[in-house]
Each structure stands twice: as structure tokens, then as C-alpha cells.
């Protein structure tokens, strides 16, 4: 499986329609494919290309630039331990070493049961809560080795399934633009000056439309 399901196909077209140029949807559609399959399969590259009007090679050209887009299957839980400067100063390297010992794999590898992929990651914007890590891009702050062991046990036992979806799913809430409220995508071609860009205010002092 790697083509979009019919439900995801509807979502994909909704996403594309928001952009003035369809190619802008490539990265969001890659995320959608990962949400469906856990990684970016060959068929997904083909279909995304069809949907936005570029070749599969061009989709791959974009996707291969971004480290969150995985061409190979990834563990159910992607554990990214930060060892950038602030976490490095506060024990991130030791935490990563512990994680390698605990999971029995080096950074970059997946456990034999397919449950965990471990990565040494750069700054995750949690610098004041160092050392930090993310599981499927959900934060865990000020993590000690003992915290890490508890986290791994909880994940393996499915106790965090409500808060941490499987790898591939980012936001569980999608933006939805209701058709009766949409202003519409602004085409780059033949655009006119917006109607409100005048010397008059858009609202009067009592809040009504002048």
C-alpha cells in the first residue's frame, strides 16, 4: 500500500486547493503519505507528482532535502535525542549514550522489533529544558536516564498511545477552511490591488462596514 486511500485523496486535494501553485503542497502531501504508511514509499512519490503536476523525480528531489521525510521504514516510535549545544552542556551526550545502551542500537538504527528508531538530533527548541528529546516530535523535557527507561517501558506497553501517535502522524488536528468562509488562494498571475487597500478604514468607529 502506498497510494492514498480515498479519504486521504480527498484531504490531499483539499490541501492543494489552498495554494496558488499546486507544487507548494509537496511537503504537506509527503507528510500525509508518511501519516498513512509510516514512511515515503515509491508509489507515494509517483502519486504526489501526479497530483501536483511534477515528475516523481522532482518530488524525490524535494523530499530528499528534508530529514523528517523517511524513504525507509522507521520504527513505530522515532526517538530523537538532542545533543546540540544547550543539551550537550546539560548532559545530552550522556543521555544519548544511555539510550543506545537501553535500546541496544546505535543512533540511526531501529530495534529488531521495529518499535524504536533512535536518532541523534540537532536543536529542537527546548534549550531551557535540557536535556530534551522528542518521541514522534512530542517533547520530553529534562530527561534523566531513569526517566528514559520509564519512557521506553511506557511506550513499549502502549501506555502513551493516546498522546503519541505512530511515526508519521504530526498534527492530529487539520486546518479546515470552510467553503463559505474562504477568501480563496491568491493567484500570482493577474493580481489586482486588494479592495481594502484604500485611504479609508475598513470599519467605522462603531465597528460596522462603512
Amino acid at each position: 500500500m502506498a497510494r492514498f486511500t480515498s479519504g486521504n485523496d480527498v484531504i490531499a486535494r483539499e490541501i492543494i486547493d489552498r495554494y496558488p501553485v499546486a507544487k507548494s503542497a509537496v511537503i504537506p502531501l509527503c507528510h500525509l503519505a508518511q501519516e498513512q504508511d509510516g514512511h515515503l514509499a515509491d508509489d507515494a512519490l509517483v502519486q504526489i507528482g501526479e497530483l501536483v503536476g511534477i515528475t516523481p523525480a522532482e518530488v524525490l528531489g524535494t523530499a530528499s532535502f528534508y530529514e523528517m521525510l523517511k524513504r525507509e521504514p522507521c520504527g513505530r516510535y522515532l526517538v530523537n535525542v538532542c545533543t546540540s549545544i544547550s543539551c550537550h552542556l546539560m548532559g545530552g551526550d550522556e543521555l544519548l549514550h544511555h539510550a543506545e545502551q537501553r535500546l541496544g542500537v546505535r543512533a540511526g538504527a531501529t530495534t529488531a522489533d521495529g518499535l524504536f528508531t533512535l536518532e541523534e538530533y540537532e536543536c529542537q527548541a527546548a534549550c531551557t529544558e535540557a536535556p530534551a528529546l522528542q518521541v514522534n516530535y512530542r517533547y520530553f523535557h529534562n530527561v534523566t536516564p531513569a526517566d528514559f527507561d520509564t519512557l521506553v517501558d511506557d511506550l513499549a506497553a502502549g501506555r502513551l498511545a493516546d498522546t503519541i501517535p505512530p511515526h508519521g502522524t504530526l498534527a492530529r488536528i487539520r486546518q479546515r477552511i470552510p467553503s463559505d468562509r474562504a477568501a480563496g488562494a491568491a493567484s500570482p498571475i493577474g493580481g489586482a490591488q486588494p479592495g481594502w487597500l484604500t485611504d479609508s478604514p475598513a470599519l467605522t468607529d462603531d465597528g460596522s462596514n462603512p
Binding site: P20, S24, I54, Y66, C123, C127, T128, Y137, Q175, P201
Partner: protein, 452 residues
């Protein structure tokens, strides 16, 4: 100490459990700034923001109102791209703004679109920030339903869509032209400026404003309270308040909103209100004043104010508002390697000096740390640095399209010139003096700060 009693502007809802919801936002003054904006002609809104002297909070520190004015007249459509791709090591403030107060950001986006006549807005959130994406998606859905976004906003002729977009892991996308490339569905590689200044040739070749999350989050307050009230806070070119993340070896790391321009590094690092001093009773060895790209500061810089001009004169920058503190036990060679490794990994590969140079800098530093370094490696570090950033000066010159390559030079020049003996101990020999002369032009200068 120069801690003032200035009230926070952008962090007022952080302590509220439901500060991210529309209901709470509306009961705490939400969308009043938008209403105030719509009651005035767009041109007056631009003037209000110019009066505030709001410097961009992303890193480059360019005045937002002036940036808006660079769109060529008569060329439409114009777009807004919101830079929420916060990734500079040490930097942590846009994520909190997006997670805890998404409506404040959305309101700022709408004010900018109204003022400059921007036909569509794209909110580019860093890929790794799942919670921020969820909070913003929810806030956008609420705001559409309530009539704050979309067609005929609040019953007026002002209509604009705000689209949530997110990345997939690439620091360089925080550079504004790379951000646009990425939003167009391509590899996030920077464009050459000129001609590709976004205000002239941006998204889809159209005039485009790129503003940072914190910058836009200030707009609701400015429209509600007036640009003059914002400009009355701070000093010199640095007005209003600003968020600073203090991390590393302090007792109380955190993100603090302080009056810009007057509060000092000593306040941020030592005051009980903020960092609380160096942990474990140690001494300060060095601190990074503005994110991984910034040259390091030391004890003698503590009394400098957090003012863009003063910090620039002293040889560094406030950058992204990230203060990283290193205590006396820090192995600066390892810290230096860690910073350089970041730029090496994140180099997009477009320009040879950066693609090759940052890679070699990282390899040489790793070799030194692993005990395989040679005395000649120290001169080689400076030589490669000189190829990326000729003269190793500040502000940096560059042989590259964007500043990422020169950013990798900052930690090397800082650490190697200040703590030369630590590098020499690793390699068992001295840095050749002929190279040191070239490098010595670089680095924070001692500055005298008048007692306050």
C-alpha cells in the same frame, strides 16, 4: 542591575492553561488590535508600526515597518510568509508563542495583511513542532468560524486566507529566501540577493513580506496601545520588550520577556528573577549572546545592555535572543565542535565554501577531540574559516549566498582565540603565530560600560 517594571507584551497568556483557546483570548483583549487596525486606513496602520520601531525578532533585526515599505508600489498580489521555523541552537521562544498563544500570532498576521495589502498568508511552522501545529490548526479553525479570518473579515471588505504550512526538518529554511523556496515545494536553498529580495521578488516571484513569529505577535498590542507606547520602552534602536531564552549552566534556565535595550546580560544570567546565576557556585567561562551563529561573550561583557547597537559594537549580535551560558568546567573545544557540527549538518550544499568548509571544520574538530589532532590543525581551522568568511571579521564577510557558512566560523574564532591553550593541550603543540595574526582581527572587543 537594570531590571525594569515594564509589563510583558507577548507572554501575558503563557501562564494560563487555556491561553491558546479563542474563548480565553477574547476575554483577555483578543482581536481588539485587529478591530483597532480596521478602523483606520491601512496606511495609518503601517505608520503606527513604524512609530513603534519594532525590530524584527528573527535574527537579522531589521525594522518591521520599514521592511513592509519595500514592496514595490502597484505590483500585486503580495504575500505574507510567517517564519515559524525556529531552529537556531539555543533559541526557544517562537515555539512557546505558537503553542501557548496562537491567536495572538494570527491576529498579528491579519494586521500585517490588512496594513500592507497582502492577499494571502502562509504560516510556516517548523516540522518538528507537532503541538504548535495542532494549536495553530485549532486556532485557525476557531478564527475562521468566528469570522476573524477568510472572506469579509468582521463584515468588512478585508478578506484574506491564512494557510498553515509546515516544514520537514531543515534549519536553513529559516533563511527567508530558502523559506520561500521550501514553501514553493522545492529544496530549501537560499536565493541570491540581489535580485531575490523577497519584498520585490518573493513567493511565486511576487512581492512577499517575511516576518518572524515574535515580530508579528507584538502587533496586536501595538495597535491596541499605540506605537508610541511601545517605542517608549527600551533604548536606542531596541524598543519595546523582547523574549530571551537563557539556557546552559544557569540555576534557572527559562524564557524571559524583558524590557529591550536596557536590561543587561548580567540581569538575565544572574538575577533571581531570571537565570539565577551560574549553577553549582562555578564561575562564568563564556556565553553566547544571540544563538549559535553569534561570536561568544565573556565576563567583561556582562554589563552590556541587551541593545542591538551596543552588542554589535562589542563584536557580536543579539540574533535570535538565545543566551547560552558556559561555566568554568566547560570543555570549550567540545562546545565549539558541537556548534560547528550543527552548521555542517545543516549546510544546504549550494555554495562550495560552506558545503566543503563546514564539513572539514567539523572533521578537524572531531579529530582533535578524539586525540588524533595535530598542531597544524589549529592553523587549518583558521585557514578554512578564512575561506568561508574572508578575514574572519565581524560583522562577517562571506563567500557564500547566505550567512550559514560564516556562522560556523563564529564559534571557532571565539573559542580558538580566547582559549587557545585548551586547543593546544588537545593537539600537543602551539598554534602557528602567522595564522594567529590573521585571526586576531576577529572577536569581541573589550568595552567599557559606564556603571549604572
Amino acid at each position: 542591575m537594570t531590571i525594569t517594571d515594564a509589563k510583558p507584551i507577548v507572554s501575558t497568556r503563557w501562564a494560563l492553561d487555556d491561553g491558546h483557546t479563542l474563548d480565553r483570548y477574547l476575554t483577555t483583549g483578543g482581536y481588539e488590535g485587529l478591530r483597532a487596525a480596521l478602523r483606520r486606513p491601512p496606511g495609518q496602520v503601517v505608520e503606527e508600526v513604524k512609530a513603534a520601531s519594532l525590530l524584527g525578532r528573527g535574527g537579522a533585526g531589521f525594522p518591521a515597518g520599514v521592511k513592509w515599505g519595500f514592496c514595490p508600489p502597484g505590483v500585486f498580489p503580495r504575500y505574507l510568509v510567517v517564519n515559524g521555523d525556529e531552529s537556531e541552537p539555543g533559541t526557544y521562544k517562537d515555539r512557546i508563542l505558537m503553542e501557548r498563544d496562537p491567536h495572538q500570532l494570527i491576529e498579528g498576521v491579519l494586521i500585517a495583511c490588512y496594513a500592507v495589502g497582502l492577499a494571502q498568508a502562509f504560516l510556516y511552522v517548523r516540522g518538528e513542532m507537532a503541538l504548535a501545529q495542532e494549536r495553530i490548526a485549532t486556532a485557525l479553525n476557531e478564527a475562521y468560524a468566528a469570522g476573524y479570518i477568510g472572506r469579509n473579515i468582521l463584515g468588512s471588505d478585508f478578506s484574506v486566507d491564512v494557510v498553515l504550512h509546515w516544514g520537514a526538518g531543515a534549519y536553513i529554511v529559516g533563511e527567508e529566501t530558502a523559506l520561500i523556496e521550501s514553501l514553493e515545494g522545492s529544496r530549501g536553498m537560499p536565493r541570491l540577493k540581489p535580485p531575490y529580495f523577497p519584498a520585490a521578488i518573493g513567493l511565486y516571484g511576487q512581492p512577499t513580506i517575511v516576518n518572524n513569529v515574535e515580530t508579528l505577535s507584538n502587533l496586536p498590542w501595538i495597535l491596541s496601545n499605540g506605537g508610541a507606547a511601545f517605542g517608549a520602552l527600551g533604548a536606542e534602536t531596541s524598543r519595546g520588550t523582547r523574549l530571551f531564552a537563557v539556557s546552559g549552566h544557569v540555576k534557572k534556565p527559562g524564557v524571559f520577556e524583558v524590557e529591550f535595550g536596557v536590561t543587561t546580560f548580567r540581569d538575565l544570567i544572574e538575577s533571581q528573577l531570571y537565570g539565577g546565576g551560574i549553577r553549582g557556585g562555578k564561575d562564568l567561562k563564556a556565553f553566547i549572546p544571540g544563538g549559535a551563529s553569534a561570536p561568544w561573550f565573556y565576563e567583561e561583557h556582562l554589563d552590556l545592555p541587551l541593545e542591538a547597537g551596543a552588542v554589535g559594537k562589542a563584536g557580536s549580535m543579539l540574533g535570535s535572543g538565545a543566551v547560552v551560558v558556559m561555566d568554568s568546567d566547560t570543555d570549550v573545544v567540545k562546545a565549539c565542535h558541537r556548534l560547528v557540527r550543527f552548521f555542517s549538518r545543516e549546510s544546504c550544499g549550494k555554495c562550495t565554501p560552506c558545503r566543503e568548509g563546514t564539513g572539514w571544520l567539523e572533521k578537524i574538530l572531531r579529530r582533535i577531540i578524539e586525540g588524533q589532532g595535530r598542531p597544524s590543525d589549529l592553523a587549518m581551522l583558521l585557514d578554512v574559516s578564512d575561506n568561508i568568511s574572508p578575514g574572519i571579521a565581524w560583522p562577517p564577510r562571506q563567500t557564500t549566498i547566505c550567512p550559514l557558512g560564516p556562522s560556523a566560523v563564529s564559534p571557532i574564532a571565539s573559542a580558538l582565540l580566547r582559549f587557545r591553550e585548551e586547543f593546544e593541550a588537545y593537539v600537543g603543540g602551539a598554534l602557528e603565530s602567522s595564522v594567529e595574526v590573521r585571526g586576531a582581527a576577529y572577536g569581541p572587543k573589550r568595552v567599557e560600560v559606564a556603571a549604572t
